[in-house]
Subunit: 171 residues, 4 copies
Amino acid sequence: MTRRPQVLVIGDSADYPDRNDTARTLGRFIAEQGWVLISGGRGGVMAAASRGAQEGCGISVAILPSDRMEEANPWADIVIPTGIGFARNYTNTLAADAVVSIGGGTGTLCEIAYAWQANKPIIACSFTGGWSAELAGRTLDYRRTDAIMDAHSSEEAMQYLRTLLQPRQPQ
Amino acid sequence: MTRRPQVLVIGDSADYPDRNDTARTLGRFIAEQGWVLISGGRGGVMAAASRGAQEGCGISVAILPSDRMEEANPWADIVIPTGIGFARNYTNTLAADAVVSIGGGTGTLCEIAYAWQANKPIIACSFTGGWSAELAGRTLDYRRTDAIMDAHSSEEAMQYLRTLLQPRQPQ
Amino acid sequence: MTRRPQVLVIGDSADYPDRNDTARTLGRFIAEQGWVLISGGRGGVMAAASRGAQEGCGISVAILPSDRMEEANPWADIVIPTGIGFARNYTNTLAADAVVSIGGGTGTLCEIAYAWQANKPIIACSFTGGWSAELAGRTLDYRRTDAIMDAHSSEEAMQYLRTLLQPRQPQ
Amino acid sequence: MTRRPQVLVIGDSADYPDRNDTARTLGRFIAEQGWVLISGGRGGVMAAASRGAQEGCGISVAILPSDRMEEANPWADIVIPTGIGFARNYTNTLAADAVVSIGGGTGTLCEIAYAWQANKPIIACSFTGGWSAELAGRTLDYRRTDAIMDAHSSEEAMQYLRTLLQPRQPQ
């Protein structure tokens, strides 16, 4: 198999400077490990994570709700306009080997719920507020016995990712 | 327009007797008002609500994740096997004029998040536990200024529905 | 099981008077048998079939591409705004016990292809032109050994449906 | 914008040696131009095209119907398990700047219909048989005035792609 680990970063589509900074830092880290960044492809956390991935010379994939490639932020390398509206939240989480959540409203809440059901490892950046803060450390229902990982800093989120996924050797 | 109001009932697919009783009572009430019951078409709360709708001589619609009509519970009148997996949660909420939530795990949580984004009125039966209890009375994010309605009994849920929707005259 | 047979009528969303007449006739017939009419819920053949179903005092279900109930034609009884764009063509065919095709462009072509893959019986009204005329009587690929049924008149389409499905006794 | 052109290759999931050879040749060509190969991620033409892309040191994206990454063929670099069944045909075509069709049954027919509606350039390899041969050179409905491009050889398909898309300079 040639596939690299795929990390989904979820969070607000609106711009919160602190949350965007975290997303950009993590996007760059993900790229530097040789992993693929998956995101919802729009603004806010999604754009910042993609921008970070580009700075880290990695690949970012934008999985969009709309049917138009032009909806993607300018840092997306590969654009998948699903055309299925916010049903694409489901696809996003299925494309993840691990999920990192930053801040977030009900879109993020929806994706965390899907990720839980699909048995994906979830790291919630509790220091960024939003639903990430509220759900970090929690067990969401009877389906799993583990809890959402609570990252108190970007570094702790990176450490969780390193534990979950294998860095990729340069080729 | 000939369309009747459509009420989505969401909740656990596993069987909890108390939650099922509430679902059956509300399904019957919905049918008796001349409204259409929408559900996810599977077991637990979904089956109980459909059963209640049948007892009330109404119509229940099952919007299934799978591609097989046989997945529906035996009380569904109209079966829509979406074939899109749990992306059907999105479709479910879009088909609702109002949403009633009973108990619930992360599937229910996902649907509440979608319903919030789609600006649908949401009534959470807090007396049934699960995510319904946790989210009743809350405002989920900046998108709306209202709160999820908190029903402390089946009667209060019915009263909320009566206020939101028009009963339909016999024809 | 209480479920009635569900018949999907597909065809042009633009208005062709002859095709609309056929759709309205068949929609009425479907309703009079006690079956449920499924359609894509928009204009042209979809609206005419729903109108016929209403005249036959039956139930018509509109499975829409958009996320807005208002997109449905005025004769739809139950409206399912899937929100998944033209991916809803897939859901449409899965909701069918039998498919009737009238005229049709590439939307209809897409649905015939899906219906073939899902192993649904397909009746193409060859007298209405479009892709229905072109594919009537054909075997589309190796997946099936049967052919698309070729209806040379509305009456022949009705006869095919009667053979495929059980009329429902009045209750 | 950093996005590279994305080329969707569609065709049989079953193995036909001649069709697979064409897919592998075109997959390699697409990669060598610096374009991204999009495919349905499964066997037959999809696997062969991805294999060719890998031989050309390019990137191939697998957009799968199922919810399981393991469904992808071993040459896929990035895997998107949509979880929406064959509704993913819609997403596939929306992710394309150009579509190349090789052989094909009703799955391919469905995707050609979607690509037509989405106004994507379509190149059908008529020398490979299947629905590609049948639809090459045709105008499918009133929505467009152009025709599906008829490629009589792999070289002609490449020439069409060169005309449609910009080769990408090495960075």
